[in-house]
């Protein structure tokens, strides 16, 4: 009996791979483009098995050109395909930047709605792994700042699979930031539903309920924030943690609702401070929830520096559990 059989938990990477595999199966018009995604199965193994299953006409080992990967994807979308485009590391997306912000993002707008661009650009992102300047970036703000692209960033296996499915079924370009430190982190493995499901784009999740302060975050910082919330219990501070999951569109209602309860907030992201997405959230709160606030909203972000290599340096510039807890204490003291 199925009921007696223990369901196996799956990791974040497997969740993404399953979503790709199931969508390739469901949608014969879907193709995959990326460097080393076929024969090798991807630098991290996310696309393992796809080429042998779906063939070299649906899974392309691309020359090392991010501009070609995105631009070819744009053309394929123009002619009826759904495209998954992999950036081997999200840092290399800058080499395809023009194709994304000027070609892909604006297509629907400048054709007065004639053309849709169902493309998902995904790739491993984030620091905390000693990857240094070019293997640690979180450059989501560049794309959130380019109208026409949705931006998502899952933190759990369940969300990773559900958001990938939603993204691949969306008619718009979606930038999908996956955290490489979460790929095989077994602490977050979970059982995934057997049935098909989507996690809707634009909906946040409350990861921890609390009364005193709202911590708004996304990506791997969710776990730093949950650890900080634990620490804050010692100070009798009951923190609520919101995992945005989607940045564009943003679930403002979830933020406002939480603030009505807590009246205090901090925002945490691992990208640099100036013009980072955390700043956007603070601005939205100021515009829509000012009346609920008892304290200014603080940000905990990377310093305005690149991500350096040596552990001592990397820790110094990135948000940490301690820095998050301290910011929460300080808004509660205000």
């Amino acid at each position: 009996m199925a009921a007696t059989q223990e369901k196996t938990k799956k990791n974040y990477l497997t969740a993404i791979r399953e979503a790709l595999d199931e969508e390739m199966e469901r949608n014969p018009d879907m193709i995959c483009l990326g460097e080393d995604i076929g024969l090798l199965g991807g630098a991290f193994g996310v696309t393992e098995g796809l080429m042998s299953k779906f063939g070299t006409h649906r899974v392309y080992d691309m020359p090392i050109s991010e501009a070609a990967i995105v631009g070819v994807g744009v053309g394929a979308c123009l002619n009826g395909k759904t495209v998954m485009a992999e950036m081997q590391f999200i840092d290399f997306i800058s080499c395809g930047f023009d194709q994304i912000v000027n070609n892909l993002a604006t297509y629907h707008y400048r054709t007065a709605g004639e053309v849709a661009m169902p493309m998902v650009i995904r790739g491993p992102a984030g620091g905390y792994g000693g990857g240094a300047l070019y293997h640690s970036q979180m450059n989501e703000a560049w794309f959130a700042h380019s109208p026409g692209i949705k931006v998502v960033c899952p933190s759990t296996p369940f969300d990773a699979k559900g958001l990938m499915k939603a993204a691949l079924r969306d008619k718009n370009p979606v930038l999908y930031f996956e955290l490489k430190q979460l790929y095989r982190w077994s602490a977050i493995d979970e059982v995934l539903p057997d049935e098909d499901y989507e996690v809707p784009i634009g909906k946040a999740a409350i990861r921890r309920e609390g009364r005193d302060v709202t911590i708004i975050t996304y990506g791997q910082n969710v776990y730093h924030c949950l650890d900080a919330a634990k620490k804050l219990e010692e100070d009798n501070i009951d923190a609520e943690v919101i995992d945005l999951r989607s940045l564009v569109p943003l679930d403002e209602a979830a933020i406002v609702q939480s603030l009505q309860k807590t009246s205090r907030a901090i925002v945490v992201n691992e990208a640099p401070r100036t013009c980072g997405f955390a700043g956007e959230i603070v601005a939205r709160i100021s515009e829509t929830a000012f009346q609920y606030l008892d304290a200014p909203v603080l940000r905990v972000t990377r310093m305005d520096t690149p991500v350096p290599w040596a552990h001592s340096l990397e820790r110094y510039v990135l948000p940490s559990v301690e820095k998050i807890a301290e910011a929460a204490r300080s808004v509660c003291r205000f």
Binding site: P63, I64, A132, M303, P308
Partner: protein, 372 residues
């Protein structure tokens, strides 16, 4: 290299040439070249062992089997020339300007201590461990600092020699690239500019047949990358990347061409990637690359090829050729006594220095975003 467009010469044709650049090298130079091959190999072997022992962090992109390209391209340079190495060229940082003396503190290359401190992620690195492995450089030593973005430093190289010309210099710059990296748009953009202005940019393509898990034919539409030179009206040469003297000859030709104001060239060195893309890829590479292809690709060890030539030419006795047997050995098999003692001792100084060097103080993470 008289008449552009392209003259793609294969190894064999140069053998009949009456006088090749190598023929002007002294017997000592010939032996020094062999010594440098040993050093490049030993550096790699030692790091692979250190990495396996868990003493290093980050990815190691082995240059095993590609050392003749590094030594053969760097040996012809003048101290003031510039280089722009990338991930697989770690030994280039200390091999540059070795001819001015391995121990010479004023030579225009990095010391082994500096390079090892970088690999060990210590503050003694020229980049103070801010970015990893090959992402170092030195303005003072004329070594361009790379990023991860493949082909991204070729335009920088063009800018460096543009400025050098404006300053009245006669330097050339060598940029190093894998064959896979030639697919980047900026590869074209930079060489196009250099060709328009006849800048002394020599693009070395280390064609090791694989770009991570992607074989040559899926990255390049032609088996020879050098033929791209045709489109720019510049020379495109093909060198036997296993033969240090063939590489040397071709680079000398390109340097003479460039210093004469005739402009850039592309030199494609045919070789084969001995291991995985990086050490993290060794196990997977054993699956995606056919074993017989790997064996064939590794069958002409550049150290063995060099030794054979030196013996043939009478620069090296048979007995001396047999004294050290590093060739045809993987990193795990090769022992210290397969290498000349001075090579091992030189590396040891670097390793000792690196281990003694501290990690960078945390506050440095916030420094040097802007200059004062």
């Amino acid at each position: 290299m008289s008449s552009p467009p392209t003259k793609t010469t294969k190894n064999k044709t140069t053998k009949t040439a009456p006088s090749r650049p190598r023929d002007h090298l002294s017997p000592e130079d010939h032996l020094e070249i062999l010594k440098q091959l040993y050093l490049a190999r030993y550096f790699d072997v030692r790091l692979i062992k250190e990495k396996r022992r868990g003493r290093l962090t980050g990815t190691l992109y082995s240059s095993h089997n590609q050392e003749a390209i590094l030594v053969g391209t760097l040996f012809p340079l003048k101290p003031s020339d510039w280089i722009s190495p990338i991930h697989r060229d770690m030994p280039a940082f200390f091999l540059k300007d070795m001819r001015s003396g391995w121990e010479n503190p004023d030579r225009m290359g990095m010391s082994i201590e500096e390079v090892c401190a970088q690999v060990w992620c210590k503050v003694g690195s020229p980049g103070r461990a801010r970015d990893n492995w090959s992402h170092i450089g030195s303005r003072a030593k004329h070594i361009i600092h790379s990023t991860s973005m493949l082909a991204g430093t070729i335009p920088v190289a063009a800018g460096v020699v543009l400025a050098d010309r404006l300053n009245g210099g006669d330097a050339v710059v060598l940029t190093y690239n894998g064959e896979g990296s030639t697919a980047q748009g900026v590869f074209h953009e930079a060489i196009n500019f250099a060709a328009v202005h006849k800048l002394p940019v020599i693009t070395i393509v280390e064609n090791n047949q694989w770009a991570f898990g992607t074989p040559l034919e899926l990255g390049c539409p032609t088996p020879d990358v050098a033929t791209r030179a045709d489109g720019y009206g510049i020379p495109g040469l093909i060198a036997d990347g296993q033969d240090v003297f063939d590489v040397y000859d071709k680079v000398m030709e390109a340097i003479e061409w460039a210093r004469a104001g005739k402009g850039p060239s592309i030199i494609e060195c045919k070789t084969f990637r001995a291991y995985g893309h990086g050490d993290h890829d060794d196990d997977r590479a054993a699956k995606y690359r056919p074993q017989d292809e790997v064996e064939k690709g590794r069958s002409r060890d550049p150290i063995a090829v060099c030794k054979r030539y030196l013996v043939e030419r009478g620069y090296l006795s048979n007995a001396d050729a047999l004294a050290f047997a590093a060739e045809n050995k993987g990193a795990q098999e090769a022992k210290d006594d397969d290498f000349p003692p001075d090579v091992v001792a030189y590396m040891k100084k670097g390793v000792d220095y690196a281990i003694a060097s501290p990690s960078p103080p945390a506050e440095e993470g916030g420094m040097w975003v802007f200059s004062d």
